[in-house]
């Protein structure tokens, strides 16, 4: 409802908005170039300039990265989308190791080897709307720390791979509006004395995926003292699932990853469980090239429709059995 209103509002104000952006940018540049210091004051200012200031000040005062995406649009005349259509298929970076998010079922009855899961459903929905064919997709499996380089090198058009929208990442790539809410959680054997993200992690070895927000959080918390100093966070692996391997082999004592992924790990091993409550709030978004504004808006438009039709079915099919709680799409705000 809200989204539709926004869309309607945008239709009328699209042209005006664009002009405002251009004006605002000019104004900001004019102000910033000669007087760099006065930028802070100038940009928090009034009305039309607000849009531009959002982009300009992200680095300094980024608080809600999930609310930074561009407003949706069904326009398909932009260069990025045209290139994709000329090519005829969408290049999507996914995971093939996340149980029920993006993986291959070894026991699948299907004769062909297809990736499946919640992320994969979304990727198909995007291809379906942009190219008119849900299967006009080429999947690229990428490790966690390769997500951003893969987008920047143009190896993929977008990454749909349980990727958290974070302030740091916004400096390098653009995100769609959020499509899933989660938070980091601790996973440990049921018999472990680890009770959650607290002092019980003292002297424990914690595994995280290389380049994940989990590692960034642990690293920052360890420096700030929020995480006990004796916790050992040196073990990093290419994929969060590799942490479960280390945990089962006794090489680490606990795993920190997004609750949604931790739940799918727990679903593969009945002797481990999630410990304590999520200690962060994070949102997954579809990541795209930073300058692919047309594609970001188009994907946001897909998401508008997907939240109404598709999201719930996919959730119930893939994630409800492991997360064991009902859920719905997260609230959406644009820049």
């Amino acid at each position: 409802m809200k989204a539709r209103r926004v869309r309607a509002a945008l239709k009328g104000w699209g042209g005006v908005g664009a002009m405002a952006v251009v004006l605002a940018l000019t104004a900001v540049f004019a102000l910033v170039l000669p007087l760099t210091q006065s930028r802070g004051d100038g940009s928090t200012g009034i009305g039309g300039q607000g849009v531009a200031s959002g982009t300009q000040t992200k680095a300094e005062e980024c608080t809600d990265p999930q609310d930074q995406s561009l407003a949706p649009s069904a326009d398909e005349t932009g260069k990025t989308i045209q290139d994709i259509r000329d090519r005829g298929y969408l290049l999507v970076g996914v995971d093939q190791n996340s149980y029920r998010w993006g993986y291959r079922d070894p026991n699948s009855d299907s004769k062909t080897i297809e990736l499946e899961g919640f992320d994969i459903d979304l990727a198909h929905a995007i291809a379906g709307e942009i190219l008119g064919d849900r299967n006009a997709i080429r999947f690229r499996a990428i490790p966690t720390n390769e997500r951003i380089p893969a987008i920047e090198d143009g190896r993929v058009d977008m990454v749909v791979r349980t990727m958290t929208i974070s302030c740091d990442r916004l400096k390098e790539v653009a995100f769609s509006s959020p499509y899933f809410e989660t938070g980091q959680q601790v996973l440990a054997p049921k018999t472990s004395d680890v009770k959650g993200y607290d002092a019980t992690l003292a002297n424990k070895k914690i595994c995280t995926a290389d380049g994940s927000t989990a590692w960034e959080t642990l690293d920052a918390d360890k420096k700030s003292g929020k995480l006990v100093a004796s916790a050992d966070i040196k073990t990093t692996v290419p994929n969060q699932l590799d942490c479960l391997v280390r945990l089962q082999l006794g090489e680490v004592d606990a795993v920190v990853t997004d609750g949604a992924l931790a739940a799918s790990q727990a679903a593969q091993d009945p002797t481990v469980e999630l410990k304590g409550e999520p200690f962060t709030t994070e949102y997954y978004g579809v990541a795209m090239k930073k300058d692919a504004e047309d594609l970001v808006r188009r994907v946001n438009q897909v998401l508008v429709d997907y939240r109404e039709n598709g999201w719930q079915q996919s959730y119930d099919k893939w994630l409800k059995p492991t997360i064991k709680k009902p859920a719905g799409p997260p609230p959406v705000k644009y820049q």
Binding site: Y89, Q96, N97, S98, Y99, Y103, R104, D105, P106, N107, S108, T112, I113, I137, R138, F139, R140, A141, I142, P143, E146, D153, R155, P238, N239, L241, D242, L244, V245, Q248, Q265, Q268, D269
Partner: protein, 474 residues
């Protein structure tokens, strides 16, 4: 007849030279009956000096010197040839088999790992065939490791490497078993275990490669110990024969007698030993060099080719497993890392096969190499089709073309054929090596013992011959 009764104490002869040095005994009943005793050496020298003044004394000295030269020649020959023959024996029965074993260990481990990953690549459960390949690889590797451990020097670098490999092999196997059971339950965790197993295997393969290099090094040093000419023995032989000739010539000049049976026998024996030494060793050397040039070099090239084809196959399957996850910059262009490695390995394989064809010295060795080359070309053609399918989005088509059943004409079939051809070529070259090296080693058979016996014979001949002359002085 005791030829020289007064041998031990020859002061029978005039001792005029000696007394100057002995003022002691000239004063009997002095305060100290034993003035500082003179060393045995000094006494000996004096005795010799005294002996050298008479013909029988000289003859005795000559006889002793000749006997000494002959014994020295015999023992040098026995020593140097034992050394060479032992080294040749090592080449044939220890270092070459160990080097072949090390190559086999590497190959079996790589085969097992490739079989494990392509088994999972099928997406579903692994096939009987891939499981058998895996089991076969593991058991061959384990078997050869036991053998290598038994033949390695305790505490040596290769022994340590073998110990490490022996320790890691069950760990690797355990990871693959876990991968299997998780895969059976339909969990992607199986794939994660497989990746972990693969990472462990890469470390093991590095060790196996080191072992192969170390064993090859040992093989080369055994060759280096077996082939050089035994110059010391040859020198001693020339000296001994020279001495004998000189003694006979001297004899002739003094007595006008042409033949002294003892000395002639000694000369004949020494000449036989020297000829045997030179000819035998030259033959052995030729055989060993031949076994190196036509056996070991071919074997090395073929082993390298087989390893290259295994690596290429591994990279070909990983290209499909990783689905473009890993890239590399080559000449400024971003390419798939595994596909790029595949191409490099294929180039290597083709170069190694060409080299093997050059080295092959008969049609029996050449034909399997030619077969392998032909199969490699088919492999490359099919690979191209598979890549085209993958690049156009037909992942299933690409999979069929790489690991599919034989009616889909997969590259796996070509790889198997290349492997079979290379196996045939390796067996042939191994046979050639063994024949040539055994010939080489055979040429040295009996040389050390024969040389010793003949040298003793020669020495006795020399002593008897001189003794006969001496007896004339009674």
């Amino acid at each position: 007849m005791p030829a020289m009764p007064p041998q031990p104490g020859p002061p029978v002869a005039v001792p005029p030279a000696a007394p100057a040095a002995q003022p002691g005994p000239a004063v009997p009943g002095g305060p100290d009956p034993t003035p500082p005793r003179r060393t045995a050496w000094a006494e000996g020298v004096d005795q010799l000096r005294a002996a050298a003044t008479t013909e029988p004394g000289r003859l005795r000295i000559i006889g002793a010197a000749l006997a000494l030269l002959l014994v020295a020649f015999g023992s040098m020959t026995a020593w140097q040839m034992t050394e060479r023959s032992d080294a040749a024996d090592n080449v044939l029965s220890s270092s070459q088999p160990l080097s072949a074993d090390a190559a086999l260990i590497y190959r079996s481990l790589a085969t097992a790992n490739t079989a494990a990953s392509s088994g999972f690549l099928a997406g579903g459960q692994e096939t009987t065939e891939s499981r058998q390949d895996y089991e076969q690889g593991i058991s061959t590797a384990a078997d050869r490791l036991v053998n290598a451990a038994a033949n390695s020097e305790p505490g040596s670098k290769s022994a340590q490497t073998i110990t490490r490999l022996n320790k890691r092999l069950p760990e690797y196997k355990g990871l693959v078993e876990r991968a299997r059971s998780n895969n059976r339950q339909g969990y992607p965790l199986g794939g994660a275990y497989l990746r972990y197993a693969n990472a462990k295997m890469q470390v093991m393969l590095k060790d196996a490669e080191d072992l192969y290099k170390m064993e090859n090094q040992r093989l080369r040093s055994d060759y280096a110990a077996a082939t050089p000419y035994p110059w010391i023995a040859i020198g001693a032989g020339v000296l001994a024969i020279g001495g004998l000739v000189w003694a006979q010539r001297r004899n002739y000049h003094r007595t006008n007698r042409v033949l002294n049976h003892g000395l002639v026998t000694a000369t004949a024996a020494s000449t036989v030993v020297l000829l045997w030494l030179v000819v035998g060793h030259s033959l052995a050397r030729a055989g060993l060099n031949d076994s190196y040039d036509h056996g070991v070099r071919s074997l090395n090239v073929l082993n390298d080719a087989r390893i290259a084809s295994l690596k290429a196959r591994g990279n070909e399957t990983l290209t499909l497993v990783s689905r473009g996850a890993e890239t590399k910059k080559v000449d400024g262009k971003t390419v798939d890392a595994y596909d790029n490695d595949y191409k490099t390995q294929m180039k290597d394989l083709s170069a190694k096969l060409a080299a093997a064809e050059d080295l092959a010295d008969d049609s029996a060795g050449e034909s399997p190499v030619k077969g392998a080359t032909a199969n490699m070309q088919v492999w490359q053609d099919r690979h191209k089709v598979a890549r085209e399918a993958d690049d156009s989005g037909d992942y299933q088509g690409a999979l069929d073309k790489v690991i599919g059943s034989n009616d889909k004409e997969p590259t796996g079939q070509c790889f198997d054929n290349v492997d079979k051809d290379l196996d045939k070529a390796l067996k042939h070259e191994q046979g050639e090596f063994e024949v040539a090296a055994a010939d080489g080693k055979g040429a040295m058979t009996g040389l050390p013992l024969g040389a010793a016996v003949l040298a003793v014979l020669g020495a006795s001949g020399a002593v008897l011959g001189i003794g006969r002359r001496l007896s004339e002085y009674r």
